[in-house]
């Protein structure tokens, strides 16, 4: 019996101690009419070898591809040590560290994580992680509304990742919060202060400030922070943690810094893995810590005065505060946070900065190579990080399909979410892409554009 250690002898002895003749008796409180009398119609059991064979076959992609999609999930080098350590049984198979004395390993890792993230964001405190970047943004807005104690309106630039905007809407809509979308400048690709003006007389709890934004374009963060602060709202930064190795941290934006910064932790050592598990992070100013959702680890002392770590401020959480909790979140993404902590320790600040700089430089080089192809141009001429929007002279979906056949994931089609941009692709090259890879993309794009199956516009 897979994973069940009972011998027939054990079963007999145990039933005897319980005082029933057969296993069936254990379920005698379940109404008879509800009991199942045959096993569920799921496939029969496979041995480990059989399931390994099945999965090995399914894990193989149809062909090896070069990936130029970013759009919220980034292919970075992950040191081998990260997952060899994170999957050690003592991390992998431990529970949430409620019994602090038996969980000092995980707790110290989380405390180190909080220190790293707070410093990366230039803010005072960090929690120990949330589900993912999108839901972290939703939590941040709920938190901002709680903290504001007045307005239930938040401003959301259209330059925020479209999926994030959808997630935020799904998460906040039941609490009567109004999410107002702020249009971007279609020339420069970022949010202009002018676009905010219509709301300058209204009570606004928060403004989301993505840096870089979904297009890879850098937002005028100082102006935006100052704008919302002048109106009594909170500035919520949405940032890429790797780029924070290079870019000004949210805590340093504008005159008094963003109040909350959140983002997707995946670029910090988490494999792409089809979209998850990743983790969200949240950092904020000290004054807001009691409004923060999620677990928080604090340093303290033991009976003998030795330092140790424990979950703290639990009165914010659902298991204590129940319907008044700051969030319903309970299990989050602990192991991912452990991996990210090890990842950051292995890279250090110099390493992280290099990854950020190389990724930006690669994408800038890619954009140059692609736009050297006749008919291909760049949208949004200003400075951009490690994503860029390029415009094609042919149907973007046809081009992507043709590129896939050539072994290239050519970027994200912006047609659905930004139809106003025409045949636009969001492309990304991280530090993992060599010059030869960029050249390969450029060559294949040129070929794809000549492909008869690709319809010119």
């Amino acid at each position: 019996m897979p994973f069940i250690p009972h011998t027939p002898e054990d079963l007999r002895a145990m039933l005897e101690r319980i005082g029933i003749p057969a296993l069936d008796g254990l379920f005698d409180e379940i109404p008879a009419g509800l009991r199942l009398h045959k096993p569920p119609a799921v496939p029969p059991a496979l041995g480990e070898a059989e399931v390994a064979r099945l999965m090995a076959r399914r894990a193989v992609p149809e062909r090896r591809t070069l990936n130029f999609i970013g759009a919220g999930a980034y292919e970075h080098h992950i040191p081998a040590a990260v997952w060899q350590l994170a999957t050690r049984g003592e991390f992998y198979s431990a529970y949430t560290p409620y019994q602090a004395e038996a969980s000092q390993g995980t707790l110290q890792v989380l405390y180190e994580f909080q220190t790293m993230m707070a410093s990366l964001a230039g803010l005072d405190v960090s929690n120990a992680g949330l589900y993912d970047g999108a839901s972290a943004l939703g939590e941040a807005l709920l938190m901002a509304v709680r903290a504001h104690r007045g307005a239930r309106r938040v401003l959301m630039p259209a330059t925020v990742h479209p999926a994030y905007r959808r997630v935020v809407r799904a998460l906040v809509k039941h609490q009567g919060i109004e999410v107002i979308e702020v249009p971007y400048c279609t020339d420069c690709g970022h949010t202009l202060a002018e676009a905010l003006e219509p709301y300058s007389k209204q009570e606004v709890a928060a403004l989301v400030i993505p840096q870089p934004n979904f297009f890879g374009v850098l937002e005028p963060v100082d102006d935006l922070v100052n704008w919302i602060h002048a109106r009594g709202g909170l500035a919520v930064g949405l940032v890429n943690p790797v780029l924070l190795g290079l870019l000004k941290p949210p805590g340093g934006w504008g005159e008094s810094g963003a109040d909350i910064a959140v983002g997707e932790g995946q670029p910090l050592g988490i494999p792409l893995s089809g979209g998850g598990p990743y983790f969200g992070f949240m950092t904020c100013k000290a004054a807001l810590v009691r409004q923060m959702p999620g677990r928080i680890v604090g340093a303290t002392l033991d009976k003998d005065g030795r330092p140790g770590y424990t979950l703290t401020l639990q009165a914010r959480e659902q298991h204590i505060r129940r319907s008044k909790a700051t969030s319903n979140i309970c299990t989050n993404q602990g192991l991912m946070v452990t991996a990210a902590t090890i990842h950051m320790a292995l890279l250090g600040s110099v390493g992280l900065r290099r990854v950020a700089a190389a990724s930006c430089a690669r994408t800038q080089a890619l954009a140059e190579k692609l736009t050297a192809i006749p008919g291909v141009s760049r949208l949004f001429a200003g400075p951009h990080a490690h994503e860029a929007v390029i415009c094609l002279p042919a149907s973007s979906s046809d081009v992507l399909r043709s590129l896939l056949q050539r072994g290239i994931l050519g970027g994200l089609d912006l047609r659905v979410d930004y139809p106003e941009l025409g045949h636009a692709l969001l492309v990304c090259a991280t530090e993992t892409k060599l010059t030869e890879d960029l050249d390969c993309y450029a060559e294949q794009l040129q070929a794809a554009l000549q492909d008869s199956r690709v319809s010119p516009c």
């Binding site: 994973f3 379920f27 431990a94 019994q99 992680g129 100082d222 810590v289 009976k303 505060r321």
Partner: protein, 483 residues
């Protein structure tokens, strides 16, 4: 020693980082002035530090972990290995479906398996933990009522024994929570329920078997009461392990369910996640499921998103949820297979009832001595506390000294000085017997050497930690030169 204290300027080797490149063109005003506080350590430093830290943890791979409501069972190593095959790890979430058919096939199959074992009509895998599954479920209840123009329903009913995520979720979905009480045998007080339901009732959230470790025998009456009042029934599937293959929430009449894959389907808890909390629904709620879900069509598998599912409650994560966790659960489900599913409940329940019987024999007081345990049960130390001053927390800490993780303490709040004990089916009789022996010893110590128990633990990396100080003198990040 913190990793920061190992740091020395100039120590990093950078062979994990790319070679320096010409700086990208970025406006200086948007660049960082001071480097972040990341340690500069050698790879050996980091490996040694985190290896040693890991050894300070208890875990399933090293200890028995009878945490009630948490289902800490063995996490098969194959699940980890197969979910981490390079082909899965490299899959970009926005990759064209044609490039990830194998991955989608696994997810689709898992949807089907969950439909079958829960008895629900449709499943979405996207919620990233139980609580997010609850959110999805309650949001669907709300969407259902809204779709019928039924805007009066503003209350979610929860039993007082419910997990904290239940009321917290109701609040996030804009509902008021109304508690109903539990009777002396651990069942929902039907009279109280009857008087609680009405035109304001959006639904009832129920854990069955409940967090008190007993199966609700009047489940059919409860269903009729709630449905009769126009409310929907939500099944908190955290305890599905107890009934897997024995009885199905769908057959009991539930409209919505979430399943904690990190419990019943044995994906690892990882020191606090990631988990996964797929939701299943009856047919009338199917259109509201969170997106994406995986469909199987002529040409292969594909994602259904907001475009195909306009009435969906929407999207709960940027991509498709905790895919790697779903793969682990899928591998587990395939290894259990048809026959294995029901054995989970058989042996989880056997272990709980055996442990309950043995602890009773050892002199511990059961919260519900006349009831059959489900996969878990409650011991109350109320009398011990009164006679010796030794409470649940002390016994828990003393167990750590004896090499066992503590059971869940002080939850459910209904039973004072409670230990909620869940052995799971993957532990052997020998382990249960050793646990009983340790509990006996502690009972003895409580009477003969109470200080030993009160001051436990004695053998761990730290002694009992000062929680009050942690909350009062908040210290959430390390700072260089604290002096």
């Amino acid at each position: 020693m913190l990793i920061f204290e190992l740091s020395r300027p100039g120590r990093g080797s950078f062979h994990q980082a790319p070679a320096p490149v010409p700086e990208p063109q970025l406006p200086p005003a948007l660049l960082r002035a001071l480097p972040p506080l990341l340690p500069e350590v050698s790879e050996l430093d980091a490996v040694r530090h985190y290896t040693r830290l890991s050894q300070k943890n208890f875990s399933i791979d090293t200890q028995f972990y009878p945490l009630g409501s948490c289902t800490m069972k063995y996490n098969p190593r194959a699940c980890n290995q197969l979910a981490m095959l390079p082909g899965f790890l490299a899959a970009h979430p926005a990759a064209p479906e044609a490039a990830i058919q194998g991955l989608l096939a696994c997810l689709y199959d898992l949807q089907e398996i969950l439909k079958e074992v829960t008895g629900m009509a449709a499943v979405s895998l996207t919620p990233m933990a139980g609580a997010q599954g609850e959110f999805a479920g309650v949001a669907m209840i709300r969407a259902y009522h809204d779709s019928r123009g039924d805007a009066e329903r503003t209350e979610i009913i929860v039993p007082d024994a419910a997990h904290g995520t239940n009321p917290a979720t109701a609040a996030m979905c804009g509902y008021a929570t109304r508690e109903v009480s539990t009777d002396r045998e651990g069942n929902v007080d039907l009279a109280a329920l009857r008087s609680a339901v009405g035109p304001k009732t959006a639904g009832l959230m129920l854990t069955n078997p409940s967090t008190l470790g007993v199966f609700e025998p009047s489940i059919e009456a409860i269903r009729d009461i709630v449905h009769g009042a126009g409310g929907l029934l939500y099944y908190d599937g955290a305890n599905l392990n107890a009934i897997l293959g024995k009885v199905r929430p769908g057959d009991m009449g539930f409209d919505v369910i979430h399943v904690n894959l990190h419990k019943t389907f044995s994906t690892p808890h990882g020191g606090g996640g990631p988990g996964a909390g797929p939701v299943g629904v009856s047919a009338r709620l199917a259109e509201f499921l969170p997106v994406p879900v995986v469909a199987k069509e002529e040409g292969g598998y594909r994602w259904l998103t907001e475009l195909e599912r306009p009435r969906s409650i929407g999207r709960l994560s940027a991509h498709g949820g905790n895919v790697g966790v779903l793969l682990r659960a899928y591998v587990y489900a395939r290894m259990l297979g048809r026959e294995g599913m029901a054995r989970v409940a058989d042996y989880a329940t056997l272990n709980a009832n055996y442990l309950m019987a043995e602890l009773a024999r050892a002199g511990f007081e059961l919260a519900f001595p006349r009831r059959r345990a489900s996969h878990e049960f409650i011991v109350s130390l109320k009398n011990l506390k009164e006679t010796t001053g030794i409470g649940a927390m002390d016994v828990a800490k003393r167990l750590l000294d004896k090499g066992f993780h503590a059971p869940t303490t002080y939850f459910p709040m209904l039973v004072s000085e409670c230990l909620l004990i869940e052995p799971t089916e993957t532990e052997s009789k020998e382990t249960l017997d050793a646990f009983v022996a340790a509990m006996r010893e502690i009972l003895e110590e409580a009477h003969t050497r109470p200080e030993l128990v009160k001051n436990a633990p004695h053998t761990l990396p730290v002694r009992r930690l000062d929680d009050v100080k942690a909350a009062r003198d908040l210290n959430l990040t390390w700072k260089p030169n604290p002096g």
